[in-house]
């Protein structure tokens, strides 16, 4: 060991947390963040990828076996290695899970006025014959491919306006796939303006998750999400979010930041922290956004999160920024093209739901019995590997994976430079959270 040379991962991020503590993370190795004290930081700083362990020990006046043990700890998550063979997130050889967006309807009650109850089970949604065929395709794919987990995200339009149509499908599909050894999970991607006791009880029983679109707090949300009467929907969402949380139904919110709502971001952040709900901020794609204002209001929001961490709020379990994956990392941004895609209301299968109805995009249909769903993914469009050369050498490539494949510009996420500023900040906050935990247990 003494003659071996410790090599630092080229994807390391090393930053101070406070005057006594630092952190290090290998941005290409899952969950590798470690808190360092000054003595440890000093050793890490002295590793120059040339000096052998013994010489390093002499230089730092540290006993060889102590130094070796510390280097062993660092090598567990590939902060350092004793050769330059660092692992990279890889596409798994065998597909075990699938993830589909299911477009249940084009109809949305937010444009249909207040009488939403009357729209339950109305026409305009996926008809029974298509649902049946969907189940048939799931069974065929699970049987042929030995898939053990499937997630269907029921979206629209407003999927809860179609609740009655899915109420029978969900238990039946879960039961049939479970007999084949496959777990089937559902979530609603919803505006959350429709939530009846029946929906609530059903969601609890079948453990259905909710992804809720939220454009901002109060007027910021109401500016864009109105009923046809002109009335805003925020008050209903606020009430329904609290109801879901009270019933322990998994729920998270998603906010697309645009020029229209970015000034309200700090207020929204405060609200979401207080609700203690998982929330995602993503940045509008295919539309200009004021970069300076965005940075200002995002920074203010992250400052609020930093304060909340000190109060015990769990940043890493509650906040997600865009498609960034700082902990589990990845080889691609989403399931599309590999383990997922989008199924339209008439059974059309596309790479992503933003391609529905676009005749220039490759499409299959679930009514084609010669192909299973995995064949359709494989023989469909493939945007996921179109990445820039900058991305190949980027420290954050496993965190960012070049962003959404459909909206890349020259093979890069349009928010690349923002990510370079905010990814370190996200790790800073994770490190603070870890340090707080250690301090709470008086371990540091």
């Amino acid at each position: 060991m003494t003659t071996t040379i410790p090599i630092k991962s080229p994807q390391l991020l090393v930053r101070p947390i406070d005057e006594k503590h630092f952190y290090v993370v290998n941005c290409s190795f899952p969950n590798s963040l470690r808190i360092l004290n000054r003595a440890q930081y000093r050793i890490l700083a002295a590793i120059d990828n040339q000096t052998p362990v013994a010489a390093l020990g002499d230089k730092l006046a540290i006993e060889a076996d102590v130094l070796e043990q510390f280097l062993e700890i660092l090598s567990q998550t590939e902060i350092i290695q004793f050769d330059d063979q660092f692992s990279k997130p890889q596409k798994p050889g065998r597909l075990q899970s699938l993830n589909f967006w299911v477009h249940t309807t084009n109809r949305c009650n937010l444009s249909c006025g207040y009488c939403y109850i009357s729209t339950l089970n109305s026409t305009g949604g996926m008809v029974e014959a298509t649902q049946k065929q969907l189940l048939h395709k799931l069974v065929q794919t699970v049987t042929q491919r030995k898939i053990s987990h499937i997630k269907l995200r029921l979206a629209g339009g407003e999927p809860l306006s179609q609740f009655k149509a899915w109420q029978a499908f969900i238990p039946e599909a879960k039961r049939i796939l479970s007999e084949l050894g496959c777990s089937l999970e559902f979530s609603f991607i919803t505006n959350l303006t429709i939530l009846t006791d029946e929906i609530l009880a059903f969601s609890k029983e079948y453990r259905i998750g909710y992804g809720v679109s939220l454009d901002g707090l109060d007027a910021d949300h109401d500016a864009t999400r109105k009923f046809r009467s002109g009335a805003g929907s925020f008050h209903m969402i606020d009430r329904n979010l609290r109801t879901l949380l009270q019933h322990h139904i998994p729920v998270s919110t998603n906010t697309v930041i645009t020029n229209a709502n970015l000034a309200g971001l700090p207020h929204l952040t405060r609200y979401l922290i207080d609700l203690d709900i998982p929330f995602r901020y993503s940045i509008v794609k295919g539309q200009a956004i004021d970069a300076e204002l965005l940075e200002t209001h995002l920074s203010e929001s992250y400052a609020l999160m930093k304060d909340a961490i000190q109060e015990g709020w769990s940043f890493s379990r509650r906040h997600q920024f865009c498609d960034l994956k700082p902990n589990e990392l990845g080889f691609q941004t989403c399931a599309s093209g590999f383990s997922g895609g989008a199924i339209y209301v008439d059974g059309t299968v596309n790479y992503c739901h933003v391609h529905f109805g676009d005749p220039t995009q490759l499409a299959h249909t679930i009514f084609d019995d010669t192909l299973d769903l995995v064949d359709m993914i494989e023989q469909g469009s493939h945007y996921e590997d179109m990445k820039s050369t900058d991305c190949q050498s980027c420290r954050y490539k496993a965190v960012c994976t070049s962003g959404c494949p459909v909206y890349r510009l020259n093979g890069k996420d349009p928010q690349c430079s923002l990510y370079h500023r905010f990814i370190p900040l996200i790790y800073d906050l994770q490190a603070r959270e870890r340090l707080k935990l250690l301090q709470d247990y008086t371990m540091i």
Partner: protein, 62 residues
């Protein structure tokens, strides 16, 4: 070299917290399993698409 110094060097936050809170608490995954596209709606409307239409091959399914 003092014993305290060695303890400092061998401080292992991950192992300590693994004991205290468990590995599952430390291995973090994304707080939401959706991707950014959740915020993007489908660019077709009721007006230009008949949502009740069943693919012409539907009859072959059963």
């Amino acid at each position: 070299m003092t014993a305290i110094h060695s303890n400092d060097i061998l401080f292992d936050d991950f192992s300590i917290l693994k004991e205290l809170v468990g590995q599952r608490q430390l291995n973090l995954s994304s707080p939401t399993t959706d991707c950014d596209c959740i915020g993007y709606t489908v660019p077709v409307s009721d007006d230009n698409h008949d949502t009740n239409q069943v693919a012409p091959t539907a009859g072959q399914a059963d």
